[in-house]
């Protein structure tokens, strides 16, 4: 009997039990009531989505789509238990939907793992070849529970259909590693190294494999390559993505915009902020991100304006103060910049970067002694940062303390042999006696 037939037989049997077991609900003819959650403090967009979804369930209590949608909106707002119950109901009303079984399974994993595995297995069967996410997640859940052989069997259809399936191969590599078969793991991991979703975790697995095969240097190389890569996105899951897309609250938009700025996707950041400000023109977090964005764009005056508005709402915002200092430095207003950084280190005495920036600003303003003291504080907070030692070396050299400058430069070069300020100091002063 093949797996598909076994599954069908099981589900026919289960359906009859289900019908009997759930007759209680049918007895009184009532559908379960949709969950009620507190929307008081919730962002308006999320609250509205939940309200609408709940109203739809009230209107159409036998609609799996309505229950599922309510589950999705609840999950987006982290009403996880309510989401779990809604997905469960949606899966009952539409047992042929992979989506609801998949989402129900994911929600159940923490509390009722065996129930979760049942949902995920059913979602896998229902999804067929339309999407690989349910099968992958099912296999991962089996691995998480130590059912390595079952997981390997579960992954097989993916690999049969596509022997280069990166995510499936990565899971297989992990399984083989835990089973003590590093060589086999190595065979699986190869094609994962070029897939953007799996390259980094695959390198980490490869690092382990190489270490186990006695190749410590190769292990170190793989680990270093992995460390240098950005954190990858999760393997695409269309069902989860639907939930994630429901998050359009202010915090989410501000975080998203900030992420775009960090990734230098400035146009995306601009668009996201526009969406945010359309709904909340004075959003404090948004203004901070806007200040950061304008600074990145070297529109320093506009950056300062945004940050001043941000600080008006949040006067003690450390990030705001530091960004404001940078925006002022960008305009060569050293004393004003120093004032911002000073306030930041007053609020957070171990703020290494703010101490360092204060040193830069004071130095540019001609306060060499104050600059050196600030940089010393930055080193106190973070002795492993080469640029701090390099800056101190430069300041000491300027003040005529050659021995101190050499010592600081030597420390910087020990940490980073290419540290430019330290190199320049050493070249200028020579090695000394």
């Amino acid at each position: 009997m093949n797996a598909t037939r076994r599954g069908r037989v099981a589900w026919i049997l289960a359906a009859s039990v289900f019908a009997a077991a759930c007759r209680r609900e049918g007895d009184d003819g009532r559908e379960p009531a949709p969950p009620v959650v507190s929307l008081d403090a919730l962002d308006a967009s999320l609250a509205g989505a939940i309200r609408d979804a709940r109203a739809a369930v009230v209107r159409e209590p036998k609609s799996s789509a309505s229950w599922g949608r309510l589950g999705q909106t609840c999950e987006a707002a982290e009403f996880n238990d309510e989401a779990r119950r809604c997905y469960g109901r949606a899966a009952v009303l539409d047992p042929g939907s992979a989506r609801w079984h998949h989402l129900a399974g994911l929600r159940e994993l923490a509390e009722q793992p065996e129930v979760a595995l049942g949902h995920l297995a059913r979602a896998t069967e229902l999804a067929g070849t339309n999407t690989d996410a349910p099968r992958l997640r099912w296999a991962q859940a089996l691995v998480e529970r130590g059912r390595l052989d079952d997981a390997a069997v579960g992954l097989k259809p993916l690999l049969d259909a596509n022997p280069s399936h990166a995510a499936a191969r990565l899971e297989m590599a992990r399984i083989r590693l835990v089973q003590g078969n590093a060589e086999s793991g190595a065979e699986f991991v190869g094609p994962c190294l070029t897939n953007p979703y799996t390259a980094r975790p695959a390198l980490l697995v490869l690092s382990q494999i190489r270490q186990r095969l006695g190749d410590g240097d190769g292990a170190a190389v793989a680990a270093r390559r992995a460390a240098a890569m950005p954190r990858p996105f999760d393997w695409p899951d269309p069902f989860l993505r639907e939930v994630q897309q429901l998050r359009k609250d202010r915090q989410q938009l501000a975080d998203q915009a900030n992420g775009f700025v960090m990734q230098n996707r400035l146009d995306d950041a601009e668009r996201t902020l526009a969406t945010l400000f359309a709904a909340s023109p004075d959003d404090a977090e948004g203004l901070l991100v806007l200040g950061r964005l304008r600074l990145r764009q070297e529109r320093c005056k506009e950056s300062e304006e945004a940050l001043v508005r941000h600080l008006k709402a949040r006067p003690d915002s450390l990030n705001g103060l530091v960004q404001l200092g940078l925006a002022r430095m960008c305009q060569s207003r050293w004393t004003d910049a120093a004032a911002s950084f000073s306030r930041a280190v007053e609020l957070k005495p171990d703020f290494a970067q703010a101490h360092f920036n204060l040193g830069l600003a004071r130095s540019a303003a001609g306060d060499a002694e104050g600059a050196a003291e600030a940089v010393r504080q930055s080193i106190r907070c973070n002795p492993g940062e080469a640029s701090f030692h390099g800056m101190l070396a430069e300041l000491l050299a300027r003040s005529g303390d050659a021995a101190g400058a050499r010592e600081a430069a030597a420390r910087a070069l020990q940490l980073d042999p290419k540290q430019p300020r330290a190199k320049a100091v050493m070249e200028r002063l020579g090695p000394g006696r």
Partner: protein, 576 residues
Amino acid sequence: MVKLGLQRVAVAFGIAVATILAAGCDRRSPTDAAKPAAASVPAGPEWFRDVTAAMGVSFVHAAGTNYSMPDQVGSGMAILDYDRDGRPDLYFVQGNGARNRLYHQEPDGTFRDVSAGSGADVAGRGMGAIAGDANNDGLPDLVVTEYGAVRLLLNLGNGKFRDATVEAGLDNPRWAAPASFLDFDRDGRLDLVVGNYVDYDPTQACDDVQGRRDFCAPQAFAGTSTRLWRNVTASPGGAPRFEDRTAASGVSRVPGVALGLVCADFDGDGWPDIFCADDGRPNRLFMNRGDGTFREEGASRGVAFNAMGRTAANMGTAFADCDGDGMGDLFVTHLAEEFHSFFRQDRRGLFLDTVAQSGLQRAEWRGTGFGTVLVDFDGDGAPDLAQANGLVRRAMPGQTPVLAGVEPWWARYAQRAQVFANDGKGNFRDLSAANPSLCGTACVGRSLAAGDLDGDGAPDLVICGTAGPARVLKNVVPRRGHWVALHLEEPRFGGRDAIGAEAVLAAGGRRRWAVLQPATSYLSSHEAALHFGLGATATFDAVEVSWADGTREKFPGGPADRRVVLRHGEGTAVKP
């Protein structure tokens, strides 16, 4: 094949029925999610009895209620015998600016608060405490970590301590959390590691998705460098002196977010390494290269990520040989929505997260674990596991009943502790239901330390949580196996505890391994002794000790059920 096919139908049928029933007929209330799924039948006699009041311990941890992260992270405690009278004493770290407390164990076994005037009653936003002899005068000193500081409290020998931080050259303005002594250069002087936590922004307020104020997550902040100081104290008993080797050792090259530490020789080369459990980041394992420098190798050695290759909220640590193969296994606690990690050492220096195979996944419920110990409570020769739990976010409801004395504001974060019995092969069974004294009430569990407080050969527990009372749990396991407790001492260095030494005890045809490293668990420090359960074996054959300087000695065996002091230099040398 047909039979197998029918079995699989049956299994699939079972799963399907369970699925449908759960999905269609589940009427649990939201708060039920935090309760055990079903009332469990106690699986045996109780292992612990709460003797806090009888012992005279009345410590209550203080914490603020304004969602400041340092309130949530602290605080820890240490079990130490500061006056060397053979009876372990207790030191509790306070939060929220209150004073730390020192309890002396009196000859009648009760504890007396001797904090006032001791010099150990410092105030700050305390995190953790460890005990170790910083100047080789034979007296355990205290290192206290705080939000924004680290302190060395020098034991003066008359029940008094003196803050010697500045003169010792220790300076750490960061948020210091775990700390550990180790002798990384094997010169006989205990060096110091301090794990700094996040680069916290005290002005940042965080709300959850539902718009409620809550504690910020560590991911909101950058990581920091773990600090390493080399002990350069000039002479035994002299003024302690440390030099900062953070940058020169290479430890600063890989910053992190340390909440737990294990300093031990992970690869068997005779040099102690440093494992950092990093909250929400990959764990770091700094391998000692024997020349004063370290190289981070957590990923390749299998301890950086969990079994699924993911980072998780790594917090508390425990290190013991759980499967009897003569190598230490590493347990790291995580959030309730994650899995804990059980990094089993299957080849020296190489680990695999086998938590799924350990039985720990089958716990009745999953807690957000902080302090944890691997100690043989029942004396069967296999270290058992205990764990303090407490939530960090409001998304999951707290458990009830809440321990009396827990500040009501904090009750929403309360969870019950758990205890698991080890079958000797690294397979664990949840005994929490049978242990109401330890596991029956919820607190915001953080520190957990083990030590034989009453000298009966059975390791007891001390547990403390945020904004709640400390509890002393006496080990009352019936029909406990025979035991030996080893005290490893360094006569050349003032007779201090030989932190970092490993012992292999042979008894009844089995060899049991342990390392003397009190500074594990969470912000805590255990009694500096090695407890070995021997089961039905009433004698032990021999003990082989690998001292921290790389030498090895063999000591003769003898009758069990006693404490044995092994002094470096008094055994028979064993060639490597």
